[in-house]
């Protein structure tokens, strides 16, 4: 029996808690359980860090959980918007894809191949990576239907393999979380820039099986953009038009689930790459994605099993209008794959768990580039393997040791380029590597958590980087090595009280074999490009500090980070030294009022040879405000975005090189009305 405590919380609460359980029992001492309950209810849960659910204090990584209540209150529309509110992340908007920076850095031209994005555990990234970002409109699921977002700040390849390079993001839908939902929900959003979105969800439970189908459509007419280094005049907003249609089906039964998705997204390209006509709405990128995954999770006495069977089809195509008004060229890049994963998690004794598994994917990529009657085909068949083992041992109270190792394989079985009917088989090079992980978690006392984290991320060269051929990129690079990011982190989290907490972290990064586009002839501005590994490592340092406080219906959080990335002693292009984010949410009954402020420091593009600054994008603040009202039958919300950011600037690599900067109107107002019954 716990001893009495002096009242430290409102007496009303304690008086209630003091009631004995069971009227027939003798009167008992008042128990102060309210702080324990508050502590439990405020414990974030995360499943992505170790492929099973843990509380964040026990996760062997620096993790953040974005909860549905926060996502709804702030009125984020895209996954990138939500992730941009996580310290260390920021979006890079080039109006082709919504890029995502982690630890302050975003490789220009990257299509988010360095951050693994999962939807209900299914990877949206494709090893081919021929055009998509996963965090913009091409994510597909409305954030209103997201239960929570799990973010691992740092590499996670020791379990997930390819692409879990800088960070890992797992989006868990309401359906996958098993959250109670009304049978029907729908919402319509209208906004500035001709933005409109409509989605509807039907949920049906029959015989213990719950199915949920979401249909969604989006379009915006676009906003005016200005590429002063490419064209003197601002471009017509119509040249920025974007539209998307998507569907997501999730069926959940006893120990099994099925998820299927369809998505099509089209983005006009005001940036007019590859000498096409600026402002012509015929210039466009189009992404299509189709996926299906069956998951079975049986349990034995000591082992959780998971069997996953999945298939994906990712398609990218583009079209460019020439100065004569004709289609000057287009690409069609489909990647199809089938895969399977078997995973087990065994509990050995009370303080040791082992997670083990193996995953194999089999891909076919059949790229086609057509221009002026000429056709160039690239056909690649390849497999990707991922086998992992991780142990979590608690040697004594307050200590956790997590160690793991992963073996990854990338094995091409056919690589053929066909140019004007002439076929050529290219050299096949298998790639494999071992990726370790080691974390020490120390909880010296309740509320204090210190983590020492060593991890690695890797990214195999994409098909695009290794074998792709078109009118601009013409050289196979079979000798490309995978990029490897080694991370050493120390973090300290402390709950000063049930309402106030802090988190601080220091991270050291070392990236070897970084892959980037390089002109074959540096002296020729129209030189074809190839991809190569950087001969020297990129080095990064990050220091982050965050505070969070909540009481009643008020939540306030914020943090600031300092980031230093360099290559050969010079600052890395498009890295921001300073980032900060502050959020405040006030809830009162059915109302919520939320605001967010983000700061992104100066970003520069420098000459890799001389270090001279070529392009500078100034620091800026972005403000967001949102008010939301809930009713029994639905909800209404008005959001204002980028209040001060009337001329948002971002660095852009229109054709990978050269890098320029663009300016666009980032301001937006959105109004949403939703119904549920």
């Amino acid at each position: 029996m716990r001893p009495f405590r002096i009242c430290s919380l409102p007496c009303r609460v304690l008086a209630v808690l003091a009631l004995p359980l069971g009227a027939h029992e003798a009167p008992q001492a008042p128990l102060d359980l309210s702080s324990e309950m508050e502590d439990i209810l405020n414990t974030d849960q995360i499943g992505a860090a170790s492929k099973h659910v843990q509380d964040v204090a026990s996760a062997p990584a620096d993790v953040v959980v974005l909860r549905s209540s926060e996502l709804k209150a702030l009125g984020y529309r895209t996954l990138g918007d939500a992730l941009g509110g996580v310290l260390g992340f920021r979006t890079n908007q080039d109006h082709a894809y919504q890029g995502l920076a982690s630890a302050g850095v975003y490789a220009l031209g990257d299509q988010n191949t360095r951050i693994l994005v999962l939807l209900d555990g299914h990877a949206l990234n494709s090893p081919a990576e021929v055009g998509s970002s996963k965090v913009g409109e091409d994510f597909g699921l409305p954030l209103e239907l997201v239960d929570h977002i799990e973010v691992v700040r740092g590499p996670a390849s020791s379990l997930y393999g390819n692409n879990a390079f800088q960070a890992l993001v797992n989006v868990v839908s309401l359906s996958a979380a098993g959250a109670a939902q009304r049978p029907f929900q729908a919402a319509v959003t209208a906004g500035t820039g001709g933005l409109s979105e409509l989605w509807a969800q039907q949920t049906l439970t029959l015989g213990g099986v719950t199915s949920s189908l979401v249909l969604s459509g989006f379009q915006r007419t676009g906003s005016a953009q200005f590429y002063p280094q490419l064209q003197a005049d601002p471009l017509d907003p119509k040249a920025d038009r974007e539209e998307r249609q998507s569907a997501y089906l999730y069926v959940k039964g006893h120990q099994w689930s099925f998820a299927g998705s369809l998505l099509s997204r089209t983005q006009r390209l005001a940036s007019a790459p590859y000498e096409s006509v600026p402002g012509d709405p015929g210039n466009l990128y189009r992404n299509r994605r189709m996926s299906g995954e069956f998951k079975w999770e049986p349990v034995t006495r000591n082992v959780h099993w998971m069997v996953r069977l999945f298939g994906d089809k990712n398609e990218f195509d583009d079209q460019f209008i020439s100065q004569t008004g004709n289609v000057q060229g287009n690409d069609y890049d489909p990647d199809r794959s089938l895969g399977a994963e078997l995973q087990g998690r065994a509990t050995l004794g009370e303080h040791l768990t082992l997670t083990f598994g193996t995953e194999q994917q089999f891909h076919r990529y059949n790229g086609l580039y057509a221009s002026g009657g000429d056709e160039i085909r690239t056909d690649v068949a390849y497999s990707v393997g991922n086998t992992y083992l991780e142990g979590n041992w608690q040697p004594s109270a307050g200590w956790n040791v997590v160690a793991g190792v992963q073996r990854a394989d990338w094995r091409p079985t056919q690589i053929r380029n066909t140019n004007d009917g002439s076929a050529q088989d290219l050299e096949k090079v298998n790639i494999s590597r071992l990726t370790p992980r080691l974390s020490l978690i120390w909880k010296p006392r309740a509320g204090d958590v210190v983590k020492f984290i060593y991890g690695q991320g890797f990214r195999f060269p994409t098909i695009f980087e290794e074998y792709y051929t078109d009118g601009t990129t013409q050289f196979a690079n079979p000798a490309l090595k995978p990029e490897v990011l080694t991370s050493e982190q120390v973090s300290w989290s402390r709950k000063w009280s049930s309402r106030f907490s802090s988190h601080g972290a220091v991270m050291l990064y070392r990236c070897e074999h970084a892959i980037s586009a390089v002109p074959i002839d540096p002296t020729d501005p129209n030189s074809p490009q190839a991809f190569g590994n950087a001969p020297d490592p990129l080095k990064g340092t990050a220091v982050e500090a965050e505070l969070a406080w909540h009481q009643g219906g008020t939540e306030i959080s914020g943090g600031a980070g300092w980031y230093d990335w360099s290559y050969q002693g010079r600052p890395l292009a498009n890295s921001s030294r300073r980032l900060a984010v502050f959020k405040a949410i006030q809830r009162a009954g059915d109302w919520s009022l939320a605001g967010e402020a983000r700061y992104v420091g100066v970003r520069r593009n420098t000459d890799p040879g001389t270090g001279a600054v070529l392009t500078t994008v100034p620091a800026n603040w972005t403000l967001r405000a949102s008010v939301r009202r809930e009713w029994g039958w639905g909800w209404g919300q008005v959001s204002l975005e980028d209040l001060t950011n009337s001329r948002r600037r971002d660095l852009v690599a229109v054709e990978y090189n050269p890098v320029t900067w663009m300016e666009s109107d980032g301001r937006a107002a959105l109004a949403t009305l939703g119904v549920r019954f």
Binding site: V16, P20, L41, T43, Q45, D55, S68, N302, E350
Partner: protein, 138 residues
């Protein structure tokens, strides 16, 4: 390799236990301790090894005869509820089978479901402060 998988999976179907579901074992253990404190009991009936480990770290004893039970499978719920046990489980759907309290994860954090009817049938009353933060299943 294929033969090995085929032989393992039917065995896996014979499931007799379930870990903490979509809630971490240390979090589930903390919640069980709160219920024990509220009920004046010091021990719990729990067979889940991971949760047992977390309970042991919290100084909570294990007793197969305890009135308070953590149940990881739906089959066990009805049996123990019939014995007038206070059943805590990780799935709110099992309250319909007789469980009194369910603790699960929603929106990335724990959520508590209780059945006043099932609690009353076991002669148990929880403090209002716990009831207030719980979702009451009718």
């Amino acid at each position: 390799m294929r033969r090995g998988i085929i032989s393992v999976l039917p065995l896996a179907c014979l499931s007799t236990g379930l870990l903490a579901g979509d809630l971490a074992a240390p979090t589930a253990a903390k919640f069980i301790r709160v219920i024990l404190q509220a009920s004046g009991g010091g021990k719990v009936n729990c067979t889940d090894k991971e949760i047992v480990g977390a309970l042991t770290d919290l100084g909570v004893g294990i007793d197969p005869e305890s009135k308070v039970c953590w149940v990881g499978t739906d089959k066990e719920v009805a049996r123990l509820a019939a014995l007038k046990k206070l059943v805590i489980c990780p799935n709110p759907d099992w309250i319909a089978m007789g469980a009194s309290v369910a603790v699960t994860a929603e929106g990335g954090r724990p959520a508590i479901y209780i059945s006043l009817k099932n609690l009353g049938a076991n002669g148990v009353t929880l403090p209002d402060s716990i009831v207030k933060i719980s979702k009451v299943v009718k």
